[in-house]
Symmetry: C2
Subunit: 528 residues, 2 copies
């Protein structure tokens, strides 16, 4: 059947969904005699051994049936297939959306720019793996013939948050499993104090710097490159022997003798979807070895494959997306909190904040027409149990309901633990996750209203045995695909970001000295 792109409020299943507002009480469902059954039943396998459990979400078989209709009517898996088969899904910039081809064998061959794009991405991965192997083995060394020990990524936004979050997620796992190769650091902000602090704590002579910019023109990144080059020169080092680039083949950084090596990406992979491309590949392969990055891709590929399933009960990303639509457009919840019970995922919420809010923070549909319903929510979060001692107060007893996304693992990464009051820290961590899910869902009445909990706060739980490279890949791909499916439901283009342009343009006006009116008055406040 041909694909049609309709606004959400034109779909008959959406009207049906609207009639199901507040249809399900999670308090009732999870206090019920059959509650344990529900917890077991409302569960879908994800890739790489992860599981998505939605027993504490405000759905029942009736709501799920309508979500299934919505998935079919909006042709969500067909639209995913169109994406990985190379249709021009990014209508704003008139580009294909091909990040899935970095990590698997879904769909047809996609030809562009005179090449098979899957082959192109895989070839770049091989080149990166080869380069990383040479750095680790000492075939590529510094001017004194010494091995490199540190890698510093220079990038911002998609070239920073995803790779940084992934590095932190695997750093302690790699150290515990003996796969740790090189420490990674990151420079992103145009604030000169960012580069200064990182460079001050870095052994320059033994560092490789990765300059990441698709266009090769990102102001922050070029500015920070200059910082790095200055520092290298002051240390008597030759920058071109310490710097590599990840960029597009048409950028000024490509085929440029100023860089020891360059790896290529293209316009079909957006920054926030680039962790599985060379943008994540170079730094993660250098830090942990190419095998770890390959396992990460395999986990993502497993999740991608599940995302092709038309049955929403066997497609966790699709189901998560649809439940999110119900929460946003029917229940009218304005925000979602991401709560990983794992210190290793400390920056994962910041990456999802970018992925989700930059993709789906839109007010026009994919054809540029205004839409009459809300799109992407605010995304925020911090690791548990830290968050419990911080913003959870509002989540439990505030006046707005905020849906929650818990993430948990049975085992920690470092394998080091301590028993206090008859339980390990890891057991305490897990006990807190389960306790929070139930507290949010069921609440508790108390004669003191200040100690009463209304409950009815919906949450889902994603869990696995341990946070490994393949699990991380599946986790990342789950959210990438969830965000994509939600964009399809809202009939928006999740793959451009025109909202960032106006600020850039006005900043140039300021820097060129041409500001006037209120803008000039503001620049005077800051003595610009």
């Amino acid at each position: 059947m041909a694909i049609t792109w309709e606004n959400l409020d034109k779909l008959s299943s959406y009207k049906k969904l609207q009639s199901l507002k507040n249809a399900v009480s999670v308090k009732k469902e999870l206090s019920d005699a059959n509650a344990a059954e529900r917890v077991k039943k409302y569960s879908v396998p994800m890739g790489a051994g992860l599981t998505y459990n939605y027993a504490a979400k405000q759905v029942d078989d009736k709501v799920l049936a309508v979500l299934k209709e919505l998935a079919a009517e909006a042709q969500l898996t067909e639209k995913f297939a169109a994406t990985y088969n190379g249709e021009v899904i990014n209508t704003g910039e008139k580009r294909m959306v091909l990040h899935h081809l970095c990590r698997g064998q879904l769909g047809n061959n996609v030809m562009a720019d005179g090449a098979n794009k899957r082959d192109f991405y895989i070839n770049e991965q091989k080149r990166i793996a080869d380069f990383a192997e040479k750095v680790h083995s000492g075939a590529i060394v510094n001017a004194k013939g010494e091995k490199f020990t540190t890698v510093v990524q220079i990038g911002i936004g998609g070239s920073d948050l995803g790779p940084r979050a992934m590095y932190l997620a695997l750093e302690n796992w790699a150290k515990a499993t003996g796969t740790f190769k090189m420490e990674a650091k990151f420079i992103s902000n145009v604030d000169p104090d960012d580069a200064t602090a990182v460079l001050k704590s870095t052994d320059l002579a033994h560092s490789i710097f990765i300059l990441v910019s698709k266009s090769g023109t990102t102001l922050e990144t070029l500015t920070n490159e200059s910082f790095v080059k200055d520092a290298l020169k002051k240390a008597g080092l030759e920058p071109s022997k310490h710097m590599i680039a990840v960029t597009s083949e048409t950028s000024p950084l490509a085929h440029n003798p100023d860089y020891l090596e360059a790896f290529y990406m293209d316009d079909y992979i957006g920054g926030r979807y680039s962790s599985t491309s060379g943008v994540g590949g170079a730094v993660l392969s250098l830090a942990f070895g190419a095998k770890v990055f390959d396992d990460f891709l395999k986990g993502a590929a497993e999740e991608d494959k599940l995302a092709t399933n038309e049955d929403i009960l066997k497609n966790p990303a699709l189901l998560d997306a649809l439940i999110g639509i119900y929460e946003r457009n029917v229940q009218n919840y304005p925000a979602t909190a991401v709560l990983p019970y794992s210190q290793a995922l400390s920056r994962f919420p910041a990456h999802l904040q970018q992925l989700d809010m930059e993709s789906n923070g839109k007010s026009v549909n994919r054809f540029g027409d205004a839409i009459d319903y809300v799109t992407g929510p605010v995304i925020f979060g911090e690791p548990g149990t830290n968050g419990q001692h911080s913003f959870y107060q509002l989540l439990h007893q505030g006046t707005d309901i905020i849906p929650l996304q818990f993430i948990a693992f049975k085992e920690n990464q470092a394998g080091n633990d301590v028993v206090i009051e008859d339980s390990t820290s890891q057991t305490k961590l897990g006990a807190n996750v389960t306790a929070q899910i139930m507290a949010f869902a069921c609440g508790k009445a108390d004669s003191d209203p200040n100690k009463s909990f209304a409950g009815e706060r919906p949450s889902s739980l994603i869990y696995a045995k341990q946070l490994t490279p393949s699990v991380l890949g599946a986790l990342l791909a789950h959210f990438e695909n969830k965000v994509m499916f939600q964009g399809f439901v809202w009939n928006i283009n999740s793959f451009d970001q025109e909202g960032v342009q106006l600020g850039k343009k006005l900043a140039k006006t300021v820097l060129s000295g041409k500001a006037d009116g209120a803008l000039k008055a503001y620049t005077e406040l800051l003595d610009l």
Copy 2:
């Protein structure tokens, strides 16, 4: 006049305020011929040389006049005076709220527990200063007679986020100004991987560990203490020679030979308000010296003094609070983003998230009665310019309006910069702040709706010459007082956190093996 505590919707000025919904177009105000005048006029000095500018907020003289009425009718400065003069403002826990006494000479002497509380706090500061001086001078050393070089804070929530954010805010300033004494690290999460990673990278023999827990019973903190003690013993070190405590005098950690020294706080200072008490004082004085901590307190004291002013146009915390009430309760905005254009403030938004959401995420008034209006918003944020390449897309073009709080400085901390395309990075940073304020307020029409910006996104700008200890103190106190004033307006108790109790209780149920029903089913998913 006697103080009365009324719900917001009982106030006549609030009804007036409701009639002013959408009364002001910031697009119009900042595009107007007199816009530059507005930018200059809508500005209030804060403490320590900071300025609060609200020219891009949705207010005009008419709205401000009603906010002034609201401040008077709700007796906001009278309630602040009652607070620092020792009334039982924390009605839930029946406690006074005395963090202001840590940092200045506001109000009367407050007697409690047989002591003058101001003297008590100041005496603890002196004891901390003396201890830090001895550590720095080498009068207090490790078993081998060597100086301590590192300080590690063990705490969670209020004992972690504030002190951590303050340390990061001043670390590079201290390094640049020669006041840096010791590196600080932090262990917080019950996830065992947190303590493992920090301890692995720490030179134990030269480290002092600060155990911070008011009650001395915080599960995460005691668990992490055990981690630290194990590590010290394994390294052949005597824990009691490496550990100090910050706690209440009635806790098991007080007057305990297991600690080299103990510093005291009390129940009148809540965790999230404790950065200016010994909770922040010990780690910051050890890291930077007592003089730096004293300057930090002086900045906070300056801001506290301004917060006593009845004139809302001369009281920046009060004005910020009132504008926030207008945005939350009249304009119905669900969230606020905090956007510091300073890498040093990387964790400041996380601290404000705790401060605000834990204080004002409440659904009952200070007497325990249900209220019929919304209270605290979701707070989130990341430093600029990083955020511009991440979630700003939604802020500019999403379907919800999110008010913004920008923070900026004229000068960086490290004094290191680079000129690219005729401007320094610091100038680029500032240019971006001003550009964003104008882009959010005024938007831009475009024939392509996907490139159109509706504008009307309100923001304020807090700025100073440089982020120094006194500026940081004033910045922190500004937000503490803002949150307090908003709590007064909503007639809620901003100083308890009953919402964190139920989860704790259920976690204990799990750990004792007594879970049943859905809770048991969840524990089985995680093999607990």
